[in-house]
C-alpha cells in the first residue's frame, strides 16, 4: 500500500508555457503537496488545464523547471512516471467495444508493460480498484453504454488500478448532473483520505472546489492570482479577481459558505 506522505509532490520554478507565440502560462513557481486534494480554478482559458497537462507530462514546458519528487520530469522514464502519476483527460475517449473490467485492467500497463506477464499482484490491484470505486456492476458492461457518471467512475477506477501516488483530473465533473458531480468528487476525496493519494483536480465550480479541496490554486490569464484554503479563496474580493464579476458569499444553514454571482 502507498503510505500517506506529507512531502512535496511537484515543484515548479519559473515554469512557463507558450504555444505558437501565445503565452498560456506565465512564469510560475509553486509546490504541490502530496496526500491532499488540490483544486485548480479559474475562468475559461486561464491556464488551469495547461498547468494540469504540464504536471501530467502531456505538455512540455517552454522554459523553467518542473520536478516530481525532486527529480526533473524529463528524467523519469515513461512507465516509471506512469506508476507515480495518473492522468484523466477532460473528455474521455470512446472505448469501442471495451468492457469496464478491460478498461480498468489497462491501468496496469505501466507495471507489466507491452510483453510482461500479468501477475497475481496485477489482478489483486484491479479487484481492489473495482471495489474501492464501487464499479463491480459495470465491470462486464461495455463502457460506451454506461451513463456519464458511471463511465467517469470506471475511468477513475482505471487510474486507481494504476496505483499512482497522484491523480491528475481535468474537469472530471464537467459533463455530469449535480448529483453525479457530488458522487464523483466524494469518491475522489475518499481516495485521498483513505489511501493518501494526492489529487490535483481542475474544477469549474468554485463551490465544488471549496467543498472538496484542501488547497485551491486560482489562475487568471495564465498567472496564479490566489492560493490558499477554501476559506481564504471564497471571499467576495478574491472571487472578483478570479472571475471578474461581483460575487456574494452566503452562509448556508449547515454553516458552509457558498458563493453566488450578484444578480
Amino acid at each position: 500500500m502507498t503510505t500517506p506522505s506529507t512531502g512535496t509532490l511537484f515543484e515548479l520554478t519559473d515554469t512557463h508555457v507558450s504555444v505558437e507565440g501565445r503565452t498560456l502560462l506565465h512564469p510560475l513557481s509553486l509546490t504541490v503537496p502530496s496526500g491532499k486534494v488540490v483544486g485548480l480554478i479559474g475562468h475559461n482559458g486561464s491556464g488551469k488545464s495547461t498547468l494540469l497537462k504540464l504536471l501530467g507530462r502531456q505538455l512540455d514546458a517552454s522554459g523553467g523547471d518542473v520536478r516530481l519528487e525532486g527529480r526533473p520530469l524529463a528524467d523519469w522514464s515513461n512507465r516509471a512516471f506512469a506508476r507515480r502519476v495518473a492522468y484523466l483527460p477532460q473528455t474521455t475517449p470512446a472505448t469501442g467495444g471495451m468492457t469496464g473490467r478491460e478498461l480498468i485492467a489497462l491501468g496496469r500497463y505501466p507495471w507489466h508493460g507491452a510483453l510482461g506477464r500479468i501477475t497475481a499482484e496485477d489482478r489483486r490491484k484491479i479487484a481492489e480498484a473495482i471495489e474501492l470505486t464501487d464499479t463491480a456492476p459495470f465491470a462486464d458492461r461495455l463502457v460506451d453504454t454506461l451513463s456519464g457518471g458511471e463511465r467517469q467512475r470506471v475511468w477513475i477506477a482505471m487510474l486507481v488500478a494504476q496505483g499512482a501516488h497522484c491523480l491528475l483530473l481535468d474537469e472530471p465533473t464537467s459533463a455530469l448532473d449535480i448529483a453525479h458531480q457530488l458522487e464523483v468528487l466524494e469518491l475522489v476525496r475518499s481516495l485521498c483520505r483513505e489511501r493518501g493519494t494526492g489529487v490535483v483536480v481542475v474544477l469549474h465550480d468554485v463551490n465544488m472546489a471549496a467543498r472538496y479541496c484542501d488547497d485551491i490554486i486560482a489562475l487568471h490569464g495564465g498567472r496564479m492570482i490566489a492560493r490558499g484554503t477554501p476559506a481564504d479563496i471564497v471571499t467576495p474580493h478574491t472571487l472578483r479577481e478570479i472571475y471578474g464579476i461581483e460575487m456574494e458569499v452566503i452562509r448556508q444553514e449547515n454553516g458552509r459558505q457558498v458563493s453566488v454571482p450578484r444578480l
Binding site: N78, A80, T92, P93, T99, P110
Partner: protein, 668 residues
C-alpha cells in the same frame, strides 16, 4: 449549414473579392493562350486569319480548326463543371460535393464504355443520353446508399467516392477485355480536349446555355434548399421536386461534358470551392463565379498542357492533369472544412461480443478450409463444370493462386485492423488511406525507372511507396486534427492522384503500361508455387508478431493523452505499428493489387461476429479477409471462363457494397 461549412478561421488573410479571383486565374490563362497562339501563328497574321482565312496555309487552318475550338471547348466544359459542382454543393448542402466526388463522372464514363461494348446501337441515339443515364444512375445509387445517414455530407462523399472507384474498376475491366475497341477510352476517360473542327463546341454550347437558363430559374428554390429541410418546407417549397430538378441539371451538365470530351476530375470541386473562399456568399454570385472560375481553371490547365507538350513533346491528357492538381487541392481543403462529424454507427456500434472467441475463430477457420478445398477442386472446363480430386494436376495449377489470395487477404485484413486501431479510426484501411496506392505508386516508378526489376526489388519499391504515403497521410491527419472521415478523404485524394499518374502513363502508350494495368487490377493469375509459399510464410510471420503488440493495440485507440498517461511512448509504438502496417500492405499489394476493400471491411466484420478484443479481432479479420479473397479468386476464375477476372477487382466488387452497407447500417 451549407453556407457556413467552409470556415476560414485558420487564415488571417482578408477574403479576396470573388471576381478578382476570376481575373487572377483568367489573366494567366489568357496570357498562356496568347503565348501558345503566337507559337503556332505569328501575331502579324492573326487579323488576316480571322478576316480572310487562307485555306492553303496549314498554320492558319490549325489555329482556326484545332486551337480555337479547343480553347472554346475548354472554356465551355470548365464552365459546365463549375456550375454543376456549385449546384450539387447547394442541393446537398455539402461543401465537397462535385461531379467527381459523387462518382457521377465515373458512372457516366462506365455507361459509355459499357454501351460501346455491349450495345453500340444505343450510341446512335446520342452519347450524351447514355452519359446522362449513367450519371443519374450513379447519383441515385449514392443518395440511396447514404439516405439512412440523413445525407450527412461526409457519408455522401464516402459513398460517392467508393461508388466512383467501383465504376472506375468496372470500366477498367471492360478495357482489359476489349482493349481493341476501347484503346481510345483511356485517353478519353482521362479527358482530352484536342479538337479537329467546331463540331463539339457547336454541340456543347446550346446545351450548356439551356442548362444555364434552367439553373437561373432554379435560383430561388435553390437558395431555400440551403436551409434546413424543415425551414425550407415551412417556406412553402416542394423539396423533392426542386431538389431532383437541380440534381438532374447538374448531372446533365456533367453528362454532356463527359460525353463530348471526357472527365476532368476536380474542376467541378475546385471552382465552387474557390468561389466560396473568394467570398461569394450569395447563391447567385456563387453560381456565376463558380461558372467563370471553372472556365478559367480548365482553360488555364489546358493552355499549360499545350505549352508543356509543345515544349517537351509529351502528350498529356488534360483530365489527368486536372485530377493531379485536384488531389492536392482536396488535401489542402480538408483541414479547413467545418463539417459536422458523423459517427459511422455501423462500423463502431458496440456489439455485445461473443463469450467464446476461440469457438468463433474455429468456425471461421473451418469455413476458410472448406472454401479453399472447394475452390481447388471445382472449376469450369471445356466440357462444363468438373470436380477434381486432390492430386489431380489442376490442383497444382489452382493451389498456388488460392494460397496467394489467402495470403493477400490475411495481410490486408491485418494491415486494416492495425491502422484502424492505431489511428482510432473505424474507417481506416490501407486502401482508403492511400497506403495501397502508395505501394502501387512505388512499384510504378520502379517499373518505369529500372527496365527489369525482380520480385525483391518490387517488394522494396512497394514498401518505400507505402511508407511514404503513410507518412504523408498521418501528417495531414495531424493537421486536420484527426477527424476520421477527413483522413479517409485525404487518403482517397492520394489514391486519385495515383490514378491520374497511371492514366498519364497509360495514355503515353508505353508497352509496360499494359503489364502494370494487369497488375493494378489485382490478378493472381501469374503466381507460381514458390512466390505463393513465400507470401504465405510472410502472412504467417505477421500473424505471429501480433501478440507482441496486442497491448498497444488495445490502448492506442484511446488516444494520445491516455496512452501517454499509461506510460506508452506513443511515438515509438505508433511508428513501429505503422511500419508493420506499411510492410504488410506492400506485401499484400504485390499479391492482389491496390484495389480491394478487404482491409477496410474485414476488421468491422470480425467485430460484427462478436470478436472485440485486439487479438481475436485481428485473427478473425485475417480469416474473413482470406475467405473473401479466396472466393473472389474462385469467382474471377470461373464466372467468365475461359477468361479470367482479376481477383482484386472481384474482391472490390464484393467489398465496396459491403462497406457501404456497414457505413449506413443502423445501430441495433
Amino acid at each position: 449549414m451549407g453556407d457556413v461549412a467552409v470556415s476560414m478561421s485558420g487564415s488571417t488573410h482578408p477574403p479576396l473579392r470573388p471576381f478578382g479571383l476570376v481575373l487572377l486565374l483568367g489573366v494567366p490563362a489568357l496570357l498562356a493562350g496568347l503565348v501558345n497562339l503566337s507559337m503556332q501563328l505569328p501575331p502579324g497574321q492573326w487579323w488576316h486569319a480571322l478576316i480572310q482565312p487562307d485555306a492553303t496555309d496549314i498554320a492558319e487552318l490549325l489555329v482556326l480548326y484545332s486551337f480555337a475550338p479547343r480553347l472554346v471547348v475548354s472554356l465551355l466544359a470548365g464552365a459546365a463543371l463549375g456550375l454543376a459542382g456549385a449546384l450539387l454543393q447547394q442541393v446537398l448542402r455539402n461543401p465537397i460535393a462535385s461531379p467527381t466526388t459523387l462518382g457521377i463522372e465515373a458512372g457516366a464514363n462506365l455507361a459509355l464504355g459499357a454501351t460501346l461494348v455491349f450495345a453500340p446501337v444505343l450510341i446512335g441515339f446520342g452519347r450524351e443520353w447514355v452519359a446522362l443515364g449513367g450519371g443519374l444512375l450513379t447519383v441515385t445509387l449514392v443518395l440511396l446508399l447514404s439516405r439512412r445517414s440523413g445525407l450527412a455530407p461526409l457519408v455522401v462523399i464516402l459513398a460517392g467516392m467508393v461508388t466512383g472507384l467501383v465504376c472506375a474498376a468496372l470500366a477498367a475491366l471492360l478495357t482489359l477485355f476489349n482493349s481493341h475497341y476501347l484503346a481510345g477510352l483511356f485517353l478519353w476517360g482521362a479527358g482530352s480536349l484536342s479538337q479537329q473542327d467546331w463540331a463539339v463546341p457547336r454541340e456543347l454550347a446550346p446545351r450548356l446555355a439551356l442548362m444555364g437558363a434552367a439553373a437561373l430559374l432554379l435560383l430561388r428554390p435553390l437558395a431555400l434548399l440551403g436551409l434546413e429541410d424543415g425551414a425550407a418546407r415551412s417556406l412553402g417549397l416542394s423539396l423533392k421536386v426542386s431538389r431532383f430538378t437541380a440534381l438532374a441539371v447538374a448531372v446533365a451538365l456533367t453528362g454532356s461534358v463527359v460525353a463530348s470530351v471526357g472527365s476532368f476530375g476536380f474542376v467541378g470541386l475546385a471552382a465552387p470551392m474557390l468561389a466560396r473562399l473568394g467570398g461569394a456568399r450569395r447563391l447567385g454570385t456563387r453560381l456565376l463565379v463558380a461558372t467563370l472560375l471553372g472556365a478559367a481553371l480548365l482553360c488555364l490547365t489546358d493552355q499549360m498542357v499545350i505549352l508543356l507538350s509543345s515544349s517537351s513533346g509529351m502528350l498529356l491528357p488534360t483530365g489527368a492533369v486536372t485530377a493531379m492538381l485536384g488531389g492536392p487541392l482536396l488535401l489542402w481543403m480538408l483541414p479547413r472544412l467545418n463539417l459536422p462529424p458523423h459517427t459511422a454507427s455501423g462500423l463502431i456500434a458496440p456489439t455485445a461480443g461473443t463469450g467464446r472467441p476461440f469457438m468463433c475463430l474455429g468456425v471461421l477457420a473451418v469455413v476458410l478450409v472448406i472454401a479453399a478445398v472447394l475452390s481447388a477442386s471445382l472449376g469450369p472446363g471445356l466440357e462444363g463444370w468438373s470436380i477434381a480430386a486432390p492430386g489431380d494436376p489442376v490442383w497444382s495449377l489452382r493451389l498456388p493462386r488460392i494460397l496467394a489470395a489467402i495470403a493477400g487477404g490475411t495481410l490486408l485484413a491485418v494491415a486494416g485492423g492495425i491502422l484502424q486501431r492505431v489511428t482510432g479510426n473505424p474507417l481506416a484501411s490501407p486502401e482508403v488511406l492511400g497506403v495501397s496506392a502508395g505501394a502501387a505508386g512505388g512499384l510504378v516508378v520502379a517499373l518505369f525507372v529500372f527496365d527489369t526489376i525482380d520480385r525483391s526489388g518490387q517488394t522494396l519499391a512497394a514498401m518505400a511507396g507505402a511508407s511514404l504515403a503513410l507518412v504523408v497521410i498521418l501528417a495531414l491527419a495531424r493537421a486536420s486534427k484527426g477527424s476520421p472521415e477527413r483522413v479517409i478523404l485525404a487518403g482517397i485524394a492520394i489514391g486519385a492522384l495515383l490514378d491520374s499518374l497511371v492514366s498519364i502513363l497509360m495514355a503515353s502508350g508505353d508497352p509496360r503500361a499494359m503489364r502494370l494495368f494487369n497488375w493494378m487490377t489485382g490478378s493472381t493469375y501469374g503466381i507460381d508455387a514458390a512466390s505463393a509459399a513465400s507470401s504465405l510464410a510472410a502472412a504467417g510471420l505477421v500473424l505471429a508478431a501480433l501478440p507482441l503488440v496486442a497491448r498497444w493495440l488495445e490502448i492506442l485507440p484511446l488516444g494520445d493523452a491516455s496512452a501517454r498517461a499509461l506510460g506508452i511512448s506513443s511515438l515509438r509504438s505508433r511508428s513501429l505499428l505503422l511500419a508493420l502496417a506499411a510492410i504488410t500492405t506492400a506485401l499484400a499489394t504485390l499479391l492482389v493489387g491496390p484495389l480491394s476493400f478487404v482491409g477496410l471491411i474485414a476488421p468491422p466484420l470480425a467485430r460484427l461476429v462478436g470478436l472485440r478484443r485486439p487479438l481475436p479481432e485481428l485473427f478473425g479479420a485475417a480469416l474473413l479477409g482470406s475467405v473473401i479473397m479466396a472466393v473472389a479468386d474462385f469467382i474471377g476464375r470461373s464466372i467468365a471462363f475461359p477468361w479470367q477476372l482479376p481477383a482484386g477487382l472481384v474482391a472490390s466488387a464484393i467489398g465496396a457494397p459491403v462497406f457501404l452497407w456497414l457505413l449506413t447500417r443502423k445501430k441495433t
